[in-house]
């Protein structure tokens, strides 16, 4: 059976975290959506917290330690991403941003992304639109139109309102999977001939 790899990047800090809870629900919804279309799913879950030290090391040394390198390769090799950040000081968290800072700025080009965030109050819900969406637009990823924001109340009295948003976003992500991800030219496989460098 045809299988899609969905990398889920969640940057919650506590265990359990509401970001992880949202990430799991989004991943399940995407799996259901894909299976409804006869496609298998492999979910690769990445808790950014587990790599906090390695991310700092990468920023300071300029290269990812071996374990982080594997994780980054999982993300860049996935067919689509689900990303979830807690809202800190009116934006994504610093740790969330660090994960995407150490990726090559072309690494997510053309990749469908489902944007999601959590927060204490629904007053922060536009964080998806003014913080996450521009970040992924810069990275030339393809964020789907519906982002999912979950405030504390969405886990209680408003839970019924959250479910359709999750289903809507999951459907959009799966529809976006038909996009061909452009493959990057490898400058080591095909180096620019020196005469071209001299004449450029």
């Amino acid at each position: 059976m045809n299988e899609k790899v969905i990398a889920v990047v969640t940057a919650g800090l506590t265990t359990p975290s509401s970001s992880r809870l949202l990430a799991d629900q989004l991943a399940d919804a995407v799996r259901d959506e894909l299976s409804g279309r006869g496609i298998g799913t492999r979910i690769e879950l990445i808790e950014v917290r587990d790599h906090a030290h390695e991310l700092t090391d990468n920023l300071l040394t300029g290269f990812p330690p071996a374990k982080l390198r594997e994780v980054l390769e999982t993300v860049t090799g996935a067919d689509a991403l689900i990303v979830v950040s807690p809202t800190f000081s009116a934006s994504y968290s610093g740790l969330f941003k660090m994960f995407f800072d150490v990726l090559d700025d072309q690494a997510l080009a053309g990749k469908p992304v489902l944007l999601a965030a959590t927060g204490g109050t629904e007053r922060h819900s536009l964080v998806l639109e003014f913080a996450l969406r521009p970040l992924f637009a810069y990275l030339k990823a393809l964020p789907v139109p519906t982002g999912v924001y979950a405030a504390s109340t969405d886990w209680g009295p408003n839970a019924a309102g959250l479910r359709p948003r999750i289903a809507q976003a999951a459907g959009e992500l799966v529809s976006a999977l038909h996009h061909e991800t452009p493959t990057q030219a490898d400058p080591f496989e095909n180096p620019t001939p020196f005469e071209d460098l001299l004449n450029s």
């Binding site: 700092t56 300071l60 180096p191 460098l197």
Partner: protein
Amino acid sequence: MQFGVFSVGDVTTDPTTGTTVSEGERIKAMVRIALKAEEVGLDVFAQGEHHNPPFVPSSPTTQLGFIAARTSKIILSTSTTLITTNDPVKIAEDYAMLQHLADGRVDLMMGRGNTGPVYPWFGQDIRNGIQLAVENYALLRRLWREDVVDWEGKFRTPLQGFTSTPRPLDDVPPFVWHGSIRSPEIAEQAAYYGDGFFHNNIFWPMSHTKRMIELYRTRFEHYGHGAADQAIVGLGGQVFMRKNSQDAVREFRPYFDNAPVYGHGPSLEDFSRETPLTVGSPQEVIERTLSFRESVGDYQRQLFLMDHAGLPLKTVLEQLDILGEEVVPVLRKEFAALKPAHVPDAPTHASLKAAAERARDLETIEEPIR
């Protein structure tokens, strides 16, 4: 195979004592290190060029000229000469001059410099780094090889009927290495000209080094300079040694933890695993260094970084004693035993001069036939 040291020339506070040497003390310490390198039998002393604190060596040929006067065997080199922000005319002049003073004991390593703010101080822009390296070096080669040069390019005022003086010693330009950590364009440049390629190799996983050297070797062969395994490769390395491994780790850790570049990041153990950094006994350094060959093939030059992060001069000189007495003699023997006969040594002034004379003789013999 050549062995040597390369110095960045940083003034860093010794984290164990809080002492910071003066610029003058650091400059004199670098000289002392170069003299010691010759004394313990190393082949190469290379120094960096920097135009911003906390680094002192802004004027490498002044320093190398001073060292040349006080040494007789060691090759003086750079790590690196900034081909982007220096005027190639001045590089041509300075290093030809140094060649004469040092009786040919000179080669250079070209580098771009990765400090953004330095470029505009010299009227340049870091975004043009590759183009600057390509154009400036093309001019530099002509200045050393043609007595009168007419030239026009993008980055420098044109030259009309210009002669760079003095002419290179014996009309043999210094051998050039190109250093780059991850720009395939620079490996390509080195391969195109049949020049040497040096990978700094420290601070990075060996996989980066391997990839760059492989590209350089393949393209060296592509451009017809010889087989891939005959390309001229140099590597860096970073070591700290004591008789007992644990003593080396204990003594070096505070320097590691507070070092410029990687300090306050990974642990010494992680960094030693991920990069070629080796802190331990001389035997461990020998084994690690020999393992580089397995990644990049037989190579011609191995330089060690010994004097950064605030290590006191006394310690650095002790390290050089260990390197010269216990490590390099073993490495020389082991590497030589492994190297096939068709793999050349790194070019020196003497070998380049002999090659030029052979080429001239061939021309004279062929002339009557034409």
